[in-house]
């Protein structure tokens, strides 16, 4: 038996030698760190791509009237911007964090199913290649909004719809496989002694998120399939003339779509809950309540989908049910915000860039949460529905929420990933430029929406002109600020002050027990957890 173990260990060492050089390393890799890196770079490239589309949108909206693009192309821009940011930037970025950090945090040698892990990643560039290629097709890209409501996406859709459907199918396959891998890794690969309630909260949030993905991505696959058969094979799922209902589309889509928005925010909670204790130099306040709050948010997310559909003429009972369930979500979310603030209370705080982004997250995400609470109220939603107020709401939770947490996490773990400290002053420039510009970009949208400016429209009434000008200026500034991040990351990879194994004195977790940069293989024998 003992010799067996020695043999196996020497085998583990042995396969370091197999690490290929050049492009093959990245194409064939089964290493969770390589795959995490691939996910993160892919997400950043997609962020810049989706951001470029947003720049054109904001340029068109800089002043009233049609200046730069045709209305149809404007619709293509908003559609693909949304799809890329949701499926191409935020979700892959979080999967990148999951890949890099979960095995190190739970003391596992790698993800549970390493080859499948590679497959999950490499589907994505192809899926988004197809999606972006539709811009060069005769009919143009999808133009029905990222929510692709029927009948816009069926009866009135353009010639690229089939490509959109199959691109969504394969990115769904990628997400489901990625999620199964995360679930199995966490259930099966924890170091001996690491019980569920000893897992870092980061791991918990990704665990719950992965369950949400496995539950709802297949529903998305189902709904795009119905859309495909309605458009090309004459079925009547979303066609009242055949006994179906366009509103059925919205029910199915949002049954996927609402858990989806938590898929994009729960991991952010995990990242922020890791960073705030590190820089407040206190343990996370209320760990178990954080776990239960995350689980309750996930469960409730299946009971709130129709709050996106208050104006579709649902029965009154439905409107009330979904309104109250939605308001209920504010309770566990409130628990979380309270716990973050309580963690900082009387902490010995310092304000490095990860902490700055995390504090900004807590404040700005809460603003997005409050506007969400306003939208949850059925009667007033009739005024807000499909206005810029909604655009402001979800950009506060997705940009200053999810994206800020991704930046916070990236700065926090860059020393572990690269072995170098990033340039703190350049990073602070990134933070302050982003913070100011993002609020200039999204805060006035609340007022535009309340005053009645509709979303997804390339032109607008004159009274909205001043605010839109400032919003566009904020947009361009925010877009440019992200190039600072690119500069910080490249500088950090190429060199800089050597990072210690644990560069943040308040940080906790197994990932800080290994060297920086983390060795190619960590924990081929699991560490001991007390």
């Amino acid at each position: 038996m003992t010799t067996d173990v020695i043999e196996q260990e020497s085998h583990d060492d042995h396969h370091d030698d197999h690490k290929m050089k050049g492009i093959k390393r990245w194409l064939y890799t089964t290493n969770h760190k390589d795959i995490g890196t691939l996910y993160l770079w892919f997400a950043f490239i997609m962020l810049l791509t989706g951001g470029a589309l947003a720049m054109v949108i904001r340029a068109e909206l800089f002043q009233p009237g049609l200046q730069i693009v045709e209305p149809d192309f404007f619709n293509q821009l908003t559609t693909v911007h949304g799809l890329i940011m949701v499926f191409g930037a935020i979700m892959p970025a979080f999967t990148g964090f999951a890949n890099w950090m979960i095995p190190m945090m739970i003391g596992a040698p790698d993800m549970a199913l390493p080859r499948m892990n590679n497959w999950s990643f490499w589907i994505l560039p192809f899926a988004f290649g197809i999606l972006l290629s539709t811009f060069f097709m005769e009919s143009g890209a999808p133009n029905f909004g990222w929510t692709f409501y029927a009948p816009l996406s069926t009866t009135y859709s353009n010639g690229s719809t089939a490509f959109f459907v199959f691109a969504v199918h394969i990115m769904g396959i990628s997400s489901i496989m990625g999620a199964i891998n995360i679930v199995v890794t966490i259930m099966n690969m924890r170091a001996p002694g690491m019980t569920y309630m000893k897992m870092p909260l980061f791991v918990w949030t990704f665990f719950i998120t992965a369950y949400l993905l496995i539950a709802v991505m297949p529903v998305l696959a189902g709904v795009v399939t119905m859309l495909l058969t309605d458009t090309y094979f004459g079925t009547s799922f979303f066609d009242a003339a055949g006994g179906g209902d366009p509103v059925l589309f919205q029910h199915l889509f949002w049954f996927f779509g609402h858990p989806e928005v938590y898929i994009m925010i729960l991991p952010a909670f995990g990242i922020v809950s890791t960073i705030i204790p590190a820089f407040a130099r206190k343990k996370l306040f209320g760990y178990s309540s954080m776990v239960y709050a995350t689980a309750s948010i996930a469960l409730l997310s299946f009971l709130v989908w129709a709050h996106h559909m208050f104006t579709t003429g649902m029965p009154l009972f439905g409107e009330l049910f979904f309104m109250y369930c939605t308001m209920l979500i504010a309770v566990p979310t409130g628990v979380k915000v309270f716990n973050w603030v309580a963690t900082m209370w009387r902490g010995s705080m310092s304000f490095e860039t990860p902490m700055l982004f995390s504090i900004a997250f807590v404040i700005l995400f809460t603003i997005g949460g409050f506007s969400g609470l306003m939208l949850a109220l059925t009667p007033v939603d009739f005024q807000y529905h499909d206005t810029y107020f909604v655009v402001a709401h979800f950009h506060y939770v997705l940009v200053t929420g999810s994206l800020f947490s991704i930046y916070a996490g990236a700065y926090f773990w860059l020393p572990k990933w690269t072995g170098h400290m990033y340039n703190e002053s350049l990073a602070k420039w990134h933070f302050w430029c982003s913070l100011i510009s993002v609020n200039l970009l999204f805060f006035p949208m609340h007022f535009l929406g309340l005053a009645g400016m509709p979303r997804r429209i390339p032109d607008y009434a004159l009274q909205f002109a001043d605010f839109n000008k400032w919003v566009s200026i904020g947009g361009f500034a925010f877009g440019l600020s992200q190039l600072i991040f690119l500069a910080v990351v490249i500088k950090c990879i190429r060199g800089g002050e050597k990072a210690a194994a644990k560069p943040w004195d308040g940080a906790e977790g197994l990932e800080w027990t290994v060297a920086s940069p983390a060795p190619y293989h960590t924990f081929s024998t699991p560490p001991k957890i007390d």
Binding site: Y28, T29, T30, N188, P218, T235, A241, G243
Partner: protein, 294 residues
């Protein structure tokens, strides 16, 4: 031994199969996208060939990938923990399949209990019926759609009932095969597994006969026959595709049994296939009740 010995978790070295799989899915997606688009526009295209190439590449990838995994398993590289990873992975994959079917059942229930009655003026929708389609009478199955397309109902007795019996029997034979494997009775294992495959193939054959019947001039039950035809063909069609996949999995397992693979304690692929088969069976029972009978 006083302490539990740590078993090393096998982390495979580089593999080219995932990227082959990604290229295959890419070919399938653009091939299918192109093919489906030309259906509508009527122009010929090469989409069908790209799709076919993608499917062939997927089969090649699965063959190569699974060969690797089987060889590693036979070489004794897998620990008990690895086996657990496979089991949990398969369970959650089946759960995702459940949710896929849930979407289509959701559409069925929505149409039956909400959208069709509403079109007929139920609840506060009196004006919908009166203004849009005054002639329309709500019923399920919806044999005359609001725009006047007519069709007939597929009865539950006859082929569907026979198919139900076939599939339920096949679940039992699959279980008997599993018991035989646990007792290491290779002969009975082969017999029961063979029966299971046969029942699956007959089921698929009868399903094709039923579709041909549905598409006949006599029944006029088409995909285009309104929400009844849509839900009928999509639900039974996706179920049929899953039975096809399950049958292929059973055949692969059967060939492996002939080669002498699987032992009572090491038979993950066999068990996963049998779980999948039971899952397909359960979906059929629900489908039989809500699509055919009720």
């Amino acid at each position: 031994m006083t302490t539990k010995e740590y078993e090393s978790y096998y982390v495979p070295s580089q593999s080219h199969w995932p990227i082959v799989g990604a290229v295959a899915l890419f070919l399938i997606a653009i091939g299918a996208g192109n093919y489906v688009s030309t259906l509508k526009s009527g122009e010929g295209g090469i989409g069908g060939y790209i799709l076919l190439a993608g499917v062939c590449l997927v089969i090649y990838m699965l063959y190569g990938w699974f060969s690797n995994v089987i060889n590693e398993s036979m070489a004794g590289k897998y620990s008990h923990q690895m086996d657990n990873s496979f089991r949990q992975g398969m369970s959650w994959f089946i759960f995702s399949e459940v949710m896929f079917f849930a979407a289509f059942f959701g559409a069925l229930f929505y149409a039956r209990t909400l959208s069709v009655p509403w079109l007929g003026g139920a609840d506060n929708n009196a004006m919908t019926g009166a203004v849009l389609w005054p002639e329309f009478v709500a019923s399920w199955p919806l044999l005359v759609t609001p725009d006047g397309t007519e069709t007939t109902q597929m009865g539950w007795y006859g082929l569907p009932l026979i198919n139900t019996i076939l599939l339920l029997t096949s679940s039992i034979t699959a279980h008997l095969a599993h018991s035989a494997l646990e007792k290491d009775n290779r002969k009975m294992l082969k017999i029961w597994l063979g029966f299971t495959i046969l029942l699956g193939v007959v089921f698929l054959f009868l399903q094709v006969v039923e579709y041909m019947h549905g598409y006949s001039e006599e029944m006029k039950l088409y995909l285009t026959s309104g929400i009844y035809g849509s839900t009928f063909y999509l639900l039974t069609g996706f179920h049929g595709m899953h039975v096809t996949l399950g049958t292929i999995m059973l055949i692969v397992v059967f060939l492996r049994v002939l080669k002498g693979h699987f032992t009572p304690t090491n038979a993950f692929a066999f068990e996963a296939t049998s779980w999948y088969w039971h899952f397909v069976d359960v979906v059929w029972v629900i489908l039989f009740v809500f699509v055919y009978i009720v």
